[in-house]
Symmetry: C2
Subunit: 211 residues, 2 copies
DNA sequence: GTCTATAGCTGGATAGAC
DNA sequence: GTCTATCCAGCTATAGAC
């Protein structure tokens, strides 16, 4: 990978971070990367294609960096703790913001939508594998839709990041509330058989209502 | 309110809906509204100010329209059901998408950030008041941070909307998983005193860890 | 209040020198 | 591979006729 290509990939991410999807342009990215604007078209063909390439490359790196940390998680509470730490670090690095901006842009950009779905999928798959491990042998494992739960967690983090940008105290309170919910789930895991049966029945009924 | 001003307000929302925050421009909005582009500056001063005005006006209308429906909610499960119905309707109308685009734009636009925080706050306040009513007399009421929970629910809906744009099946599965979680909370509400004490203790410990 | 016209800028993208 | 120069479209915003 030539130095210029790498600088452009980094510059694209940095621009998305600092200026958002509305601020992405060939000139902004080239300025951030410290290279000539025309090189974007020489190396990547278009701004859109550079953005796609940059998102693909960046996410692979981040997920790999966190895989190790996810591997140490052994309970729901720990998952939420690691999740919060991860969210805070990634937020400070600006990476959750990048994903949020990608998602916003992807709503009206087919190519960006494809790569963003992949990016999101990488995180969700990581969360899902942790959930499977953490929920092994718990009453949830037999009734919960683990992939669905993983997707819900991903989505919530994205939403929290965006909300944090306009109301930081509110978002932090929301994160704390989700941790309370995690603590609650742990208690449910330790329920006796009667309550467990009632639980399963209720959840089944809810599933039936959805059809 | 003159017809032109109203057309511009509607046109701004419609543009945000159809083209996203990156597609917002005086020409796009005026085209959508079917009026001359220069009138934006005559009536609102700038595109940014029009956007702010439009968001303010539109949200007030939507929240008022749903207040009645929220008022009939009497349980957590019902809240999730109304929430899902509301989300589907608002999604089809494109209103959640508008909020998501506003949040994305607000990350790098001070004026938009202020009005978006207000918009988000209106929805969160509505959810919060329902939560207070629904949780009255339940074990949650004494320990849960209801405003935090309301903020978490708002944030999750925003995240789900964005994720739905790139992975609809995944987002729908996530929504279903959240409903399972709601069914679960209802069971917890019916716990006996022993489990309830254990629950409170766990949640307190989690709170202490957060410091 | 609404229009046309336009200034002045920034955008994507390309041609062609080196 | 990288640069300069440039085209043309689209952008915000204003001036001035009506």
């Amino acid at each position: 990978m030539s130095d210029t290509k790498q600088r452009l990939l980094d510059g694209a991410m940095e621009t998305l971070r600092k200026q958002g999807i509305a601020g992405v342009s060939a000139r902004n990215i080239a300025g951030q990367a410290g290279v000539n604007q025309a090189l974007i078209f020489y190396h990547f063909g278009s701004v859109d294609d550079l953005l796609v390439a940059a998102c693909t490359a960046a996410t692979g790196e981040r997920v790999a960096a966190y895989r190790e940390r996810f591997a140490t998680v052994g309970s729901l509470r720990e998952l939420l703790e690691v999740g919060r730490a991860l969210h805070e670090e990634e937020r400070d690095l600006g990476n959750v913001a990048v994903l949020a901006q990608m998602l916003a842009g992807a709503q009206h950009d087919e190519k960006l939508a494809r790569v963003t779905a992949e990016t999101l999928g990488m995180w969700t798959a990581e969360i899902e594998s942790v959930l499977h491990r953490v929920l092994a042998g718990s009453p949830f494992a037999e009734m919960a839709d683990v992939p669905g739960l993983a997707a819900a967690i991903s989505a919530s983090f994205v939403g929290l990041e965006l909300c944090e940008g306009v109301d930081r105290p509110g978002a932090q309170r929301a994160m704390a509330a989700l941790e309370q919910l995690g603590a609650l789930l742990e208690v449910v895991e330790e329920l006796g058989p009667v309550a467990r049966r009632a639980l399963r029945s209720k959840v089944s009924k809810a599933a039936a209502r959805r059809g």
